[in-house]
Symmetry: C2
Subunit: 193 residues, 2 copies
DNA sequence: TCACTGTTGAACACCATGTTCGAGTATGGT
DNA sequence: ACCATACTCGAACATGGTGTTCAACAGTGA
């Protein structure tokens, strides 16, 4: 169904790979479209036939990845007891670990914010969903924002420091850090066990 | 004391104010040097006599502010019992509230990372200092990173949502969110009271 | 084989950047 | 009030990246 021309696939893939490679060792800001063209060995007009600009290409690099992550998350969400916010975090760390090269490109240099914003939003929504169901004493947005930012920060720290711990370990540690804060913030209906 | 020429002060201040104003309603990325020149009514060559580029000007906008914040923090640090990590947070929220316009410019649009990185580093160091003294079960860097990112995230959320709560309230809520997580992460030497 | 669609590279207009320089102007010290 | 000094101005310029156009060419799928 509307399977694109083989050349199109080849071009897009080549450009994406070239950009990721360049970002890894030069940082996103210091890359010109021409750099990508040279590395990918693709004509200038071809580039603009596919992407509006450098940003569009960069986003497209991450799109497949993000879709994959979201699919993994959606797939597990209904299967889990609703009060277990630890599992999705594990999925995210696993995902990052499996796709190290691209995550390195994304988080590698200081906040190349184009993409980290997606991740932030994703974590925020995730947490907000869990918290909305559970009910919180403090404003939900604040609790969600707090831990979403925290998790994203640790994730980026992890990537930037070259994955010094395993994904399971990271997930466990984050869980230990998140749980007490969230528990304390939950509605105090059944506060005393 | 090398007090600079009055004209120099005037020029620098005018350029800084112009940039902040422009950033507030257009976002940092969408501003050209020429825009700043027009708004400030300053000659092109004059600009480059003072600042290497747009980034340098932007950083200089924040420099006084950051120095002030750091001074406030340093001033109170030794007076407080070392195990009270709540007070500095209050100082930061107060500072942001007092300087709303500039914080709006800094955090206004999505991660204009140039400056938020300074704040991030500042919070990280702060927390790291407290935690190092107390000793943690989990790696100090991770605990510090977790809560530093969280606090910065909430701070930016607060600014971007137009300060919907008072600074004291924000500080209190953050304290409630941070304390249990940090406590749980402290070395378990005197775990059972 | 053939119509179609993607690719190419050169040429182009455009815009922002950062530098240079000579002429004008405010400043602070005397 | 005066003057040397240091700052400002604006126009002109070189540079470099962006995004578009077009006619010739090449790969694709049927």
């Amino acid at each position: 169904m509307a399977e694109p021309d083989r050349r199109v696939r080849r071009t897009r893939r080549t450009l994406q790979e070239a950009l990721v490679e360049l970002v890894v060792d030069r940082g996103y800001e210091r890359i010109t479209v021409q750099d990508v063209l040279d590395r990918a060995d693709v004509g200038r007009s071809t580039f603009y036939a596919h992407f509006r600009d450098k940003d569009a290409l960069f986003v497209s690099c991450f799109d497949d990845l993000r879709d994959g992550l979201r699919r993994e998350l959606d797939a597990m969400d209904p299967n889990t007891p609703p009060a277990d916010p630890a599992r999705p975090v594990g999925v995210i760390f696993d995902h990052a670990y499996r796709h190290r090269p691209i995550y390195r490109a994304v988080c590698g240099r200081q906040g190349d914010n184009i993409v980290t914003r997606h991740l932030h939003q994703l974590m925020f929504d995730l947490l907000r969903g869990h918290l909305d169901a559970a009910g919180t004493r403090l404003p939900v947005d604040i609790v969600a924002e707090y831990h979403a930012s925290a998790l994203l920060g640790v994730l980026m720290w992890w990537v930037q420091h070259d994955f010094p711990y395993g994904p399971a370990e990271m997930s466990r540690m984050c869980q230990e850090l998140t749980a007490p804060g969230v528990m304390a913030g939950l509605a105090t209906i059944n506060a005393h066990h």
